[in-house]
């Protein structure tokens, strides 16, 4: 094989394929090694100690261990399989949260002494994270919002750091409930006649995962850099981050590891030993961070402040609800609506037309109930104009907006403040 002609590290690994062996390589030469490892047959694992997790890491070193595929090491917490470019060869990349990675072995009993339990965020260390301090000021959260809560909000349950510090699971649950309540209250009070499907879509557009990811990005949140940026020819290991810097970035178990040659490489969600590995989508992690901030505001500053925050950051965004409708039988639905509401049956009338016998004909049709025009529209044919007019009429019904006072504004006040809201009899059944 051509293995012998390659870098010395390859020969060393190929020679030790049968038995697990750990090789130490200075990190200054990591880039070349990472790219040449693909030629090694068997199951190769690169272990880079994350000094961000390990405060007392003595020296940056890259650990490469080679073992046969049938006996994967349970020590390694996550890895990636790359199998698109070489059929029988796998590359495993992982970062370990084990504090003393310098003693890495593949013996399972060594894992037993891994420090268990979750400790609080170190307040003094977190206060040194400039990104967190700036983020708190940028969002105007105030000094009453603890920096440790912000650090916790950035720590997703799937991250490596979640085994050492509290994750944002509970905060995001609270934030999600608050968001759902205030956003749905806003939508339903603003447009009480909206059909259910449109309400759901509006909720998704305001506080779904994608919308909240956009919000989080707009706040300038960076995510944890992967240990290896690209898989393939340009693979390179990234410099380690200090723990302090780690607090200020979004941390989660990455689902997508690399993209090369138009292929996306995903992490296997199940470990070799059958246990589940924590992986999340970027949008899930980022949106949960935003929810956690809202939950944290509720805990630290009170629910009124959380509500104001939601109105300032989420509901201030633009959403055109009239574009979320799709009608299947608008003319029929309109006639049902008129009969339900005891209006005169709708009649279409031509308001204007031009070029009937030409290629560019335009018709303007209005739909009337008695002498009231419910809606009008233009169209290239009479049928099109009639349909469009019916849609406009239905939209003007469904988008009725009484501008009523939100019930949540009267919380904690005398009952006299509360005004009963308009309750719609429901959408039209065709």
């Amino acid at each position: 094989m051509s293995l012998r002609s390659r870098a010395p590290i390859n020969r060393r690994i190929s020679a030790s394929l049968s038995a697990t062996k750990i090789l130490q390589v200075q990190q200054t030469r990591h880039a070349r090694h990472a790219s040449t490892l693909y030629n090694v047959q068997g199951f190769v694992q690169i272990n880079q100690p994350v000094s961000a997790v390990n405060l007392s890491a003595p020296k940056r070193k890259l650990f490469i261990s080679a073992s046969s595929r049938s006996t994967p090491s349970p020590f390694f917490s996550s890895y990636v399989r790359v199998s698109h470019s070489f059929k029988t060869k796998n590359l495993a990349i992982h970062s370990s949260s084990r504090p003393n990675s310098t003693l890495a072995t593949s013996e399972p009993d060594v894992i037993a002494d891994e420090p268990a339990g979750i400790s609080e965020f170190p307040t003094s260390e977190v206060a040194k994270c400039s990104a967190l301090v700036a983020l708190r000021a940028r969002l105007e959260l105030g000094a009453s919002f603890d920096l440790t809560t912000l650090a916790q909000a950035l720590n997703c349950p799937s991250s490596e750091l979640a085994s050492r510090f509290p994750s944002n699971e509970s905060l995001s649950e609270l934030g999600a409930r608050l968001l759902d309540f205030y956003v749905s209250e806003f939508i339903i009070c603003s447009y009480p006649r909206l059909p259910m499907e449109v309400i759901k879509e509006a909720l998704w557009s305001y506080c779904g995962d994608d919308a909240l990811t956009s919000v989080g990005r707009h706040w300038g949140i960076e995510r944890e850099r992967p240990q290896i940026t690209t898989v393939g020819k340009g693979a390179r290991l990234i410099k380690e981050q200090r723990l302090v810097d780690y607090f200020g970035v979004l941390k989660y178990g990455r689902m997508v590891v690399g993209r090369s040659n138009g292929l996306t490489e995903y992490v296997d969600p199940v470990n070799e030993d059958g246990t589940e590995r924590g992986v999340e989508r970027y949008s899930t992690a980022m949106s949960n961070f935003v929810r956690s901030v809202i939950g944290g505001i509720c805990l630290h500053n009170g629910r009124d402040v959380a509500k104001e925050f939601i109105f300032n950051h989420i509901l201030s965004r633009k959403l055109d609800i009239s574009k979320l409708f799709r009608f299947e039988q608008p003319t029929r639905e309109l006639s049902r609506l008129c009969s339900r509401e005891h209006f005169a049956p709708p009649i279409s009338r031509m308001i204007a037309e031009t070029g009937r016998f030409s290629q560019g004909s335009v018709y303007v049709v209005g739909i009337y109930s008695g002498s009231n025009m419910l809606g009008s529209a233009e169209g290239r044919s009479i049928a099109e104009a009639e349909t469009r007019a019916a849609i406009n009429a239905l939209k003007s019904w469904y988008l009725y907006s009484p501008h009523s006072k939100l019930p949540s504004t009267t919380e904690g006040k005398a009952e006299a403040d509360f005004q009963q809201l308009y309750v719609d009899p429901g959408q039209v059944i065709v």
Partner: protein, 140 residues
């Protein structure tokens, strides 16, 4: 099913309508402790950075000592970076450049083709020749 919904994408951010988030999220000052071209930025860092950072609490500041000409790097919310070389500038000129980076939006410089660009529909609607009175319509 009478009314269905269409996915039109997420809501659009309107910075400043509710909350305002400064687009500049990080400023990095890179200077040389020895070089003569860094005299101005050294004085700026020594005299004014403390005040400047207190005035802008939402921005993360980083100071890097590295050989070569001094630069100020601005990181923005849209992921873009703006870099200004401040070699041989005086401290007050460096402060002007720092203010410039702080106030920038981070977007690529582009010529504004229209006097107004908006994500909202025009309040007057689109003029229609068919909705004017009969006597004013164009007759062929």
């Amino acid at each position: 099913m009478p009314v269905q919904s269409v996915r039109r994408g997420i809501s659009v951010a309107r910075n400043g309508v509710g909350a305002f988030v400064l687009p500049c999220r990080k400023l990095t000052f890179r200077f040389c402790n020895w070089g003569a071209s860094s005299v101005g930025i050294r004085e700026f860092l020594h005299e004014s950075l403390n005040k400047f950072s207190k005035e802008n609490p939402g921005i993360e500041f980083e100071v890097i000592k590295k050989h070569g000409h001094p630069v100020i790097i601005g990181d923005y919310l849209n992921g873009k970076q703006k870099v200004i070389c401040v070699r041989n500038l005086t401290a007050s000129e460096v402060a002007v450049k720092a203010n410039l980076l702080r106030d920038a939006s981070g977007r690529k410089l582009a010529r504004a083709k229209n006097p107004v660009s908006s994500i909202n529909d025009g309040p007057r609607g689109i003029w229609s020749p068919f909705h004017v009175l009969e006597q004013y319509r164009h007759k062929v």
